[in-house]
């Protein structure tokens, strides 16, 4: 199947320098260098630290990706890169690098949307995506419900968080509980020993009035505040904080809202494929709850394996490969890195 497009993908929208190589929907390499260790002590990603790390990691990550895939740059059919959304300075390192690799190797360039790439990565695990599909992307920076009519160009936003992203809520609650950053994995682990119904935390934007204006939107800042109040109240009485129970009850509240709204979106739009992506899709409870609830309505759930859910270059390569196969025109060498790229812009060729 060597007639399938061989595409290189570069991702630098946040703290991961990711370079992936994909042929069609087959993953050949997924090299990732992360600067997370440098950010952890600040309790969040520091943009300038991330940007510096991208520059340092670029050539080495490229070498590793090409070596793993066993290909040369001259073999690829296109170079794809995350053009946005993300941290402006971080994105720019990847975009400039991608242009340089494309120019030097004489290959077409595709500037693509990070969110669509999170959707496209699933094709590497489960094959071509049935369309239309509903995609729920939940990460440290995003919580969005998208209607994917056509992964090559028609993606419509149904809703998004109006305050904190789901992953951000995990990170903040972890900090309240004295767990390390990023908070998703330690909360997931702690919750296994806790009782998810021991504390009734609020489910944001699920009241009857909210469902009129914010049916597919999310809000997690009230939940975070509720957890903080609950923990403070406990500390005031001098009792120990039951970390496992708080973690499990918080996680239950997040997963409940996410899965309810995702399935509601599928049913409202008459769509029977639900894709979940982004770092929070690694959450074990979310995976189980979405799968179980969706099954009751005959909705098929696709969730890529955790390694593919967090930021990486393979997802960008996967979207690039899809765009090449769909004969979408490439981007020009003067494309910007756009930190606020709208979800409706799947690739920058859309603008030509």
């Amino acid at each position: 199947m060597t007639d399938e497009p061989l595409v290189l993908g570069i991702e630098t929208s946040c703290d991961e320098t990711g370079i992936g190589v994909v042929r069609g929907t087959t993953l050949l390499a997924d090299a990732v260098a992360s600067s997370m260790a440098e950010h952890a002590k600040f309790g969040g990603v520091v943009p300038e630290v991330a940007s510096r790390a991208h520059l340092e990691a670029m050539a080495g990550t490229m070498r590793q990706a090409l070596d793993t895939a066993g290909v040369r740059l001259s073999d690829v059919d296109a170079v794809a890169v995350t053009a946005g959304p993300g941290l402006a300075g971080a994105l720019l390192v990847g975009v400039a690098a991608a242009k340089a690799y494309a120019l030097a190797a004489g290959k077409p360039l595709y500037g693509v949307n990070h969110l669509s790439a999170h959707v496209a990565v699933d094709t590497l695990e489960h094959g071509p995506l049935p369309e239309p599909a509903i995609a729920m992307l939940v990460s440290g920076g995003h919580s969005s419900l998208l209607m994917v009519e056509d992964l090559a160009g028609r993606v419509e936003p149904l809703g998004a968080t109006i305050d904190d992203a789901a992953g951000e809520a995990f990170d903040k609650v972890a900090r309240l509980l004295g767990l390390p950053f990023p908070g998703g994995p330690p909360i997931d682990r702690a919750a296994r020993d806790g009782d998810p119904v021991s504390i009734d935390f609020p489910r944001g934007l699920t009241g009857p009035r909210d469902l009129v204006r914010h049916r597919f939107d999310f809000s997690f800042s009230g939940l975070k505040t509720a957890v903080a109040r609950w923990v403070e109240a406990r500390e005031r009485t001098g009792e120990p904080v039951p970390v496992a129970d708080v973690a499990a009850s918080f996680q239950e509240a997040v997963c409940d809202v996410l899965s309810r709204k995702a399935i509601d979106a599928c049913r409202t739009r008459g769509v029977d494929t639900l894709l979940v992506g982004g770092g929070v899709a690694a959450n074990s409870r979310l995976r189980a709850m979405v799968t179980e609830r969706a099954a009751a309505y005959g909705i098929t759930v696709r969730i890529p394996r955790p390694k593919l859910c967090t930021d990486n270059g393979a997802m960008v390569a996967a979207l690039g490969s899809h765009l090449v196969a769909a004969a979408v025109p490439p981007s020009t060498l003067d494309i910007p890195a756009d930190s606020a790229l709208p979800v409706t812009t799947v690739s920058l060729a859309d603008r030509l």
């Binding site: 969040g44 520059l55 670029m58 920076g141």
Partner: protein, 224 residues
Amino acid sequence: MLVLGVDTATAAVTAVLAEVDADGVRELASAVTVDGRAHGERLAPSVAEVLTRAGRTVGELSAVVAGTGPGPFTGLRVGLVTATAMAQALGVPTYGVCSLDALGAAAGPGRVLVATDARRREVYWARYVDGVRTDGPAVAKPADVHVDAERAVGDGAGKYAEVLGVRIVPEPRYPVGAVLVGLAAERILAGAPGEVLEPRYLRRPDVTPAAPAATRPAAAGTPR
């Protein structure tokens, strides 16, 4: 040998194509765009443009020379990652040159101060005698620069002329592409091993973590 030079350490986005041999450096084409916010957009098209204008192809390049700053971080990285990636793809060496040297060496004989705009009301500066750097590079408030020169060049010198109190020569205002390549000519001709291009940031990063999702550009850009 055909050599590409790039510099993005100032508001000028510079690409130059030059022929380097025992007789010296001959500029074939150069493209300079002065726009402090367009480094990422302009540099790659400028590289393509100088190649086209000179009627040469990218595969003919023997080396890439880059200005390593000091300069505002975001723009500076564009030049360095572009040079690094192109050279890696082509399998040719990269050589780094201090961007201020590409002004100092172009400023003629005598004692010269080079100062470029470092934003935040500061300048990147270095001192030269007959084109050779004798002090710097460093970053400082204009009032704190020990001038000790007959004249000054660079956009930072022009911007803070009154504070510096030295005669300002309007040109060169930005690093000169052919001069940049010339400063690496010896290494290029000697076939010296390629260098990892290390940015001269001169300042530590501001360590404020990214704003929460609602104010982060990514989230703010998500349509409702």
